[in-house]
């Protein structure tokens, strides 16, 4: 695998109701910002092939109060929609939005910080309560990756 330059993604539970994910990208913030805020770019990476999910449509109106809507094609003409609105839009360093498809939806905030030409991305998901975060256990969005993670871990741990 020629992926030596790939950066790792870390995740931590910062508090009872907040999860923080971090990742570095080998590009200036303006490029990473574009990839988050231009629909034609965003829709190319938000649903990775390994998830087994198919993106049916994606719309976004990146301004404070503007909305977004992600629709997954689940097969058998079933779909699942994820939607919300943008709370903060500070190009090119801070973007915040609601997740309104469930009552327990978090507020997601990304901050992009440039250091030596690289982008340090911090993504926070802040839930209304610990219970809301815990209920999010039920999310199946990441199911196939989770199995992949377990598969990857098994040989190292057994």
């Amino acid at each position: 695998m020629v992926e030596s330059s790939k950066h790792t993604t870390s995740a931590e539970r910062r508090s009872d109701r907040e999860v923080v994910v971090r990742r570095i990208f080998d590009a200036p913030v303006r490029i990473v910002w574009d990839a988050w805020t231009r629909a034609e770019l965003f829709s190319r990476w938000w649903v990775p092939k390994s998830s087994g999910l198919k993106l049916q449509s994606f719309e976004q109106d990146v301004r404070v109060g503007g909305g977004y809507r992600v629709v997954f094609d689940l097969g058998d003409s079933k779909t699942a929609a994820f939607f919300g609105k943008y709370l903060e839009v500070q190009a090119p360093s801070r973007l915040s939005w609601t997740n309104e498809e469930s009552e327990d939806g978090a507020i997601t905030t990304i901050t992009l910080e440039e250091k030596d030409g690289k982008t340090h991305l911090t993504l926070s998901e802040l839930y209304a309560s610990k219970e809301a975060l815990d209920r999010n256990f039920g999310s199946t969005e990441g199911l196939p990756e989770q199995f992949g993670q377990l598969d990857a871990l098994l040989p190292t741990l057994v």
């Binding site: 539970r13 990839a35 256990f137 039920g138 989770q146 098994l154 057994v158």
Partner: protein
Amino acid sequence: MVQYSSRLDASFAALSDATRRGVIEQLWHGDASISELAERFHMTLTGMKKHVGVLEQAGLVTTEKVGRVRTCRLGAGGLDEEWAWLERHRGVWAARFDALDAVVEELKRKERNDGRK
């Protein structure tokens, strides 16, 4: 310590099977009867009973029979739920960000090419 590692061995052996991992995932969402699990995973009752038996021996699942229904739930000896949840969550973002890397690289190349024009 010895006890702990043998329990871990049993846990990971139990989880080496995709169906059993699926059962664990399913039970994260809530308790389920053996017949519900069998139906969910398109298996016979006998087949599912075997899988649940392995998970039960590893301490990952406990079962309780009430009347004719045997209900399965995650056991106290299961994977640390928070760790598992966080790891799953991290996995989702890691997959996304690896895909984002590819888009970012393409944009960088495009910028360089445009700059040369």
